[in-house]
């Protein structure tokens, strides 16, 4: 066990600065020693030794005798804030306090032992700050194509490391071709839409500005204008989960094409079946790009027995091509490409329904969310 260096403060010398509670704190002489100790598992805890044998060990609540405070302002006592949460163990005359959460690099902690009300022994511990390395970067932004429809619904921003939550809309801007910021382009959600790893963020374009004939669209206009160029700009002020800023800003520039109001049509996809006995990819080519994330999730292949063909899915060519590289060789036979009908294109048009259903003009027949399939045959390899 290693005892960290403790900076004992003679609180009596600095009563005005140290006291946030209205009573002078005095670093009382006494047998008690306070240390910060690392256990073999790396957890740190505060230890009070020198308690005399007669000390009432096994006290129901040690919170009245020994408390640790977070110190934000080095001149303050810290005591005006709540003591930090943790658990106490008293054993062999030594009291140990283990904070509920790891101590924070760069912060100071005030550990206080109360001999009696007004008789306090204080020790302060500064946890050295960590050098933050600015190594996290934006790795991809989807859609990856450089021409996107006017009614584009969302961006996926991929990062190389987990990111901080709560900074997305401050650090993401959309600029027009003159370099002016487009106002309120995104649906700003309190719950930022991260994947479980914290490395992919989904940003929706405000649907009120996509829909035709709606107020925001009429008043402020759509986010995008056909034929214009735009840049999605990600600021390097954005911090990763460790608190380090991004290594560099990121820009994705693209041109806007006409709005797309059509649902993707699986029957029109070009399917290139692999040869039996090979490990060639099965590949699909779409007429227009589809949603990157959904392509990974909502398309798969099953054999005649209904077993899924395991393999690696690749989405390429600006999300116009999907391919499956099987883990094992294709056995000749019949297969089914399985497609969930909620698969969307870049404008949120699902296979089951387009993004906009206008009841004033037409009521489309609805297809409930379901799985569609398309059959294909893997033929024995021609010799």
């Amino acid at each position: 066990m290693k005892i960290a260096s403790a900076r004992f403060i003679l609180a009596g010398l600095l009563p005005a600065l140290l006291c946030g509670c209205g009573q002078p704190v005095r670093d009382e002489p006494g047998p008690v020693r306070i240390g910060l100790v690392s256990s073999p598992d790396g957890a740190r805890y505060f230890e009070v030794s020198g308690l005399d044998a007669g000390h009432p060990g096994g006290k129901a609540s040690w919170g009245g005798t020994f408390r640790v405070y977070t110190v934000f302002d080095k001149r303050s006592a810290g005591e005006e804030l709540p003591a930090i949460a943790g658990s106490y163990v008293f054993q062999d005359g030594v009291l140990r306090f283990r904070p509920r959460f790891p101590l924070e690099p760069g912060l100071a902690y005030s550990a206080r032992f109360y001999y009696s009300p007004g008789r306090v022994k204080e020790a302060r511990f500064e946890i050295p700050g960590e050098d933050l390395v600015r190594g996290t970067s934006v790795t991809e932004v989807y859609p990856s194509a450089d021409v996107l429809p006017e009614n584009l619904l969302k961006f996926y921003i991929h990062f190389s490391s987990p990111m901080s939550v709560g900074q997305a809309y401050d650090n993401t801007r959309l600029l027009n071709s003159k370099g002016e910021t487009v106002r309120y382009p995104f649906l700003e959600l309190d719950e930022e839409l991260w994947d479980p790893s914290g490395r992919r963020l989904t940003i929706f374009i405000d649907p009120g500005r996509i829909k035709q004939g709606v107020l925001p669209n009429k008043v402020v206009g759509p986010v995008f204008k056909v034929g214009e160029r735009y840049t999605l700009e990600i600021s390097d002020e954005w911090q990763d989960a460790a608190g380090a800023r991004l290594g560099a800003p990121f820009r994705k520039s693209f041109k806007v094409s006409a709005a797309d109001h059509r649902s993707p049509d699986p029957a029109a996809w070009k399917l290139a079946a692999p040869a039996g006995g090979s490990r060639e990819p099965l590949s699909l080519t779409f007429a227009a790009p589809l949603d990157h994330a959904l392509l990974h999730r909502l398309l798969w292949v099953e054999n005649e027995a209904g077993e899924r063909v395991e393999g690696e899915v690749r989405v390429e060519a600006g999300e116009r091509r999907w391919s499956l590289l099987p883990d094992t060789r294709w056995s000749p036979g019949r297969y089914r490409l399985m497609i969930r009908s909620i698969l969307e294109d870049l404008a949120g048009n699902g296979i089951d329904k387009p993004f906009e259903v206008d009841v004033f003009e037409q009521v489309r027949e609805r297809v409930d969310s379901k799985t569609l399939s398309r059959e294909f045959t893997v033929s024995p390899r021609q010799r």
């Binding site: 934000f72 949460a85 719950e191």
Partner: protein, 373 residues
């Protein structure tokens, strides 16, 4: 979700029918003392018997925690705490920029406020429930409490993501935008980080059933079209013409009523848009209360302040069936409550007061108890 009048109403009905609420109300009986660890903590809401419902979006789970905080305090302490973010950070041993407060709920029995908090910056930051009694703040130790958990199954791609190997670990998450306990059911509103969808789940409590979401199709006044997939931001329950209804505020602010009885697994519902609260505005939170014998709803908004709506007007509303044009406000009338600025969170503290979390000009947060307007 922030309303419990239906709970007391349900109890009254049971008494009228000669049922013994004590026998029927032992909702914690099936719960177990497990070491409950939250992966994340989103919206929170109270049910009866001191049961706190906690949404855990990262685990795609709703937890019910028997807080044991059931003894009705003779004199409830008024919750008031300046710099609550700073104080929570101190209690968790970190700095205020490293905590995020997701939601708050007041236990109607004790008047104690419960806040869901993330301690850390990233998605995987540990989640904590913090209690505030008067001005005394404490972090809640869940390990000694009885709880029950319900996994929100039926993600739309269950078949597609079930399988072997690392490659198919789904990147899909279901953000939970609100939850609430209404008449023996836990209602959960959510949206996906992939497909643009809205789901509303109705789960019987004590937990049972599939939790299959009901997809809610609403008439969206601002858009002048059917909109099936807009996400629900926040909701409350109340009685409209004697029938229990859910009043849901959507991300782009239409206010919609949906009969509670319609929310069934797999159902496709059509709500009635009763108000259009204006664009470039996000509803944040809602509560329902009674004052001078009349029932009202308060809606906290991101840019249009606090709105007060008479629920009688909701009953009378014929619904919006045409495109809203002009100022972007249509449907039931509302009053904007001056002086309630910077409100981020809202719950009913008791019959006469609301508990709010307010952002100060300096950027810190205060908990304040305010008389209901």
């Amino acid at each position: 979700m922030k309303v419990k009048p239906l709970v007391s109403m349900a109890l009254s009905v049971m008494l009228l029918l000669g049922l013994n609420p004590a026998a029927a109300a032992d909702l914690t009986a099936g719960m177990k003392t497990v070491k409950l660890e939250l992966k994340s903590a989103g919206p929170v809401a109270f049910g009866p018997e001191g049961i706190l419902f906690v949404a855990d979006p990262l685990a795609a789970t709703v937890h019910a925690v028997a807080t044991g905080d059931t003894a009705a305090a003779k004199k409830k302490k008024v919750v008031s705490l300046e710099g609550v973010d700073r104080k929570i950070a101190a209690a968790l041993g970190t700095s205020p920029d490293k905590i995020r407060i997701s939601d708050l709920a007041v236990n109607p029995a004790s008047g104690v406020a419960y806040l869901s908090v993330a301690r850390g910056s990233g998605v995987a930051a540990p989640a904590v429930i913090v209690t505030v009694r008067g001005d005394h703040l404490e972090s809640l130790d869940l390990s000694g409490l009885k709880s029950a958990s319900f996994a929100l199954s039926s993600v739309p791609d269950a078949k597609a993501t079930t399988g072997r190997g690392r490659r198919r670990e789904s990147a899909r998450t279901q953000a939970i935008t609100d939850l609430g306990y209404v008449n023996g059911r836990v209602l959960v509103a959510g949206m996906s980080n992939e497909e643009f969808s809205s789901s509303l789940r109705s789960i019987p409590f004590p937990f049972a059933g599939s939790g299959k979401p009901a997809s809610v199709e609403i008439y969206h006044g601002a858009h002048g079209r059917f909109e099936t997939r807009s996400p629900v931001r926040t909701f409350v329950s109340l009685n409209v013409a004697g029938q229990p209804y859910l009043v849901a505020a959507y991300q782009c602010t239409p206010l919609v009523t949906i009969p509670l009885s319609d929310i069934k697994p797999g159902a496709r519902l059509k709500g009635k848009t009763v108000a259009e609260l204006g664009n470039r505005n996000r509803p944040l939170d809602m509560i329902v209360y009674t004052k001078d014998g009349k029932e009202y709803m308060l809606i906290a908004n991101s840019s249009r302040g606090i709105m007060k709506v008479s629920t009688v007007d909701l009953e009378k509303s014929p619904g919006i069936t045409e495109r809203v044009s002009g100022g972007g406000r249509k449907g039931v009338p509302y009053e904007t409550i001056e002086g309630w600025k910077g409100i981020l969170q809202l719950d009913r503290a008791d019959d006469h007061n609301a508990l709010v979390m307010r952002e100060t000009e300096g950027g810190s947060f205060n908990l304040e108890t305010l008389p209901l307007p």
